[in-house]
């Protein structure tokens, strides 16, 4: 049975990942390198926003305190967001953005598949089944670009190598157990992320092999997002994300 005390925070972790990464992709609006990617980035951002909305709405129902999508998305403080650090990293350049998307989608596609197959929560299974197809596309889109940029020109290869150096240390948190997730795993709400690590490793190895990139040895992976400890850039992100609701409380479209 769904219990609000443990399950709401566990669902918010996934929802916040989707919201924050979706917002990052929305920042490309009007700045993408070509029209085709402009639309692709917005499409992917909207996929993630849709997943976040469904998860927030579901979390609000379980919680039963009348909080809805907007309350979770716009009206929490920075320390109350429990997204992993990877998704809040800045866009920097197209290489960073595509690599971040690859790292995330290579995790989320198999994880969503596992949620859809094993979760004790029927609504969550449904949300995950839909999200898996979306993440499969994100994975292919980002993978194709990482391959072409990594094995591309001198400049694109240098930018992709920079991105790997910068972002690889944030991938450990995708699999890390937070207290909320540990409870959710014990209850059968969520599968253990460790179950998809082998698939993630294989996906990244395949793409990096074709892209002529090397995954660096990271001794200590960065973490803290699940406890609400974020990087400096998160405050700037939230300032833009929350501006409208803070300036005009209760505003609706």
């Amino acid at each position: 049975m769904a219990t609000a005390a443990t399950n709401v925070p566990a669902i918010l972790e996934i929802a916040d990942d989707c919201l924050i990464l979706g917002h990052r992709l929305s920042e490309w609006c009007g700045h993408a390198p070509m029209l085709e990617e402009e639309l692709a980035l917005a499409n992917m951002g909207l996929d993630l926003l849709g997943q976040a909305r469904a998860l927030y709405a579901h979390a609000g129902e379980i919680e039963g305190k009348g909080r809805g999508e907007d309350d979770f998305a716009f009206l929490r403080r920075e320390r109350q967001y429990v997204n992993c650090l990877l998704v809040e990293r800045e866009n920097r350049d197209f290489a960073h953005t595509m690599l971040r998307q690859l790292y995330f989608a290579a995790f989320m596609q198999p994880y969503c598949r596992a949620i859809a197959a094993t979760s004790s929560d029927e609504t969550l299974r449904g949300i995950a089944a839909k999200a898996e197809k979306e993440m499969a596309y994100h994975l292919r889109h980002a993978g194709e670009w990482v391959i072409r940029l990594g094995d591309g020109t001198e400049e694109s290869a240098a930018r992709m190598t920079d991105a790997v150096t910068e972002l690889h240390r944030y991938t450990g948190e995708l699999f890390a157990d937070s207290p909320a997730r540990a409870d959710a795993i014990a209850e059968g709400l969520l599968p253990d992320p460790e179950a998809v690590r082998a698939e993630w490793d294989a996906t990244i190895a395949t793409v990096f092999g074709e892209a002529k990139l090397e995954a660096p040895e990271i001794r200590v992976m960065q973490k803290g997002g699940r406890e609400g400890r974020h990087g400096e850039e998160m405050g700037h992100l939230l300032a833009e994300l929350q501006f409208m609701q803070r300036a005009y409380p209760g505003l609706e479209w």
Binding site: M34, L35, E36, L39, A40, N43, Y137, E144, R148
Partner: protein
Amino acid sequence: MTDKQNLTPLWEVFIRPRNGLHHRHVGSLHAADSALALQAARDVYTRRGEGNSIWVVRSSDIAASDPSFAEPNFEPADDKIYRHPTFYDIPEDVGHM
């Protein structure tokens, strides 16, 4: 600096509508290769559920008829109405054709 046009040549996009039988030309886009062209076509031309199959063809691979030769090409057909199947009585049971 390499010419950007050569890095991302033009592709023509054909979509088969959900309820249609054949692919129809819907537009064009720039992409580096066929895999990226298919991805871009999906993102640019199927966002509203337009279709269930995509073809892309390099625009430079399409041989087109010469517009200045349009009259010799097409006008000779104009006065040959007997080529249209309009001289038959269609039985009522056949319905709309």
